[in-house]
Amino acid sequence: MGADEIIYAPIPKPPPLRRIHSDALYEQDSDARRSLEYHRTRTTEEIVESLRPGADESLKVKPDGRIFQGNTRIKVLEERGYPVNDLPRDPIP
């Protein structure tokens, strides 16, 4: 490698999303279950739009991939096989 050779480091990709609400929560908490049932009635496009940055309840994610907003909607997208890790996120501290 020459002294003037420039090495371009790849931009690190964000870690995979991880829901902080377990599947068990939706069995134990009737409000969580109602929310899940509601989001299951929505189209994939509607859910993706609701998660976009700038939306009033956008996908908010910690640096380690934990989801702090959007857990139930991500769960529904996962059930449908949607590539959730491709979604843009609002990184939070």
Binding site: P14, I20, P53, S58, K60, R89, D90, P91, I92, P93
Partner: protein, 147 residues
């Protein structure tokens, strides 16, 4: 320095949400034109102002999650949660339709919350919330500070 002065002094330092894409690209949040947003806020009708304030309140619940989910919570974290909770206490009071505040008083409340956010370390959350609330009620093009 009164609350108005403090909010004006800090207006340039509030930023909207950052966006991180799947390929790793990060687009930093843009500065929020607080004076413009609050002026436009006062022209909104009561329902739109409620929506604005609810968006801020909802974001602040996520801010609390962000502090308390990682134990142990530091003393600074506890202090931050106290002040975020105080902001929520005031926001949820003024949204009550049975004792609704004037548009001007609600704008003053937001100024006070901005001031407190800088003093207690949750200005990043308020900038993000203010930008999103304005974008969803006033209009996306009017939020960021003109260059």
């Amino acid at each position: 320095m009164n609350t108005n002065d403090a909010a004006r002094d800090t207006a340039l330092k509030l930023y909207g949400p950052t966006v991180q894409y799947a390929d790793g690209k990060v687009v930093p949040g843009q500065p929020v034109d607080v004076e413009h947003v609050l002026t436009q806020f006062e022209h909104l009708d009561a329902d739109a102002r409620s929506a604005f304030l609810c968006i801020i309140a909802h974001d602040l619940t996520v801010a609390i999650r962000s502090v308390v989910f990682d134990a142990p919570v530091t003393d600074a974290g506890v202090d931050r949660v106290k002040w975020i909770n105080e902001s929520l206490h005031r926001l949820t009071s003024c949204i009550n339709p049975h004792k609704r505040w004037s548009a001007h008083d609600e704008a003053m409340l937001i100024r006070g919350i901005i001031k407190n956010s800088f003093e207690h370390g949750f200005d990043g959350w308020i900038g993000r919330a203010l930008a999103v609330a304005a974008g969803n009620t006033i209009g996306a093009n009017s939020v960021v500070k003109a260059k």
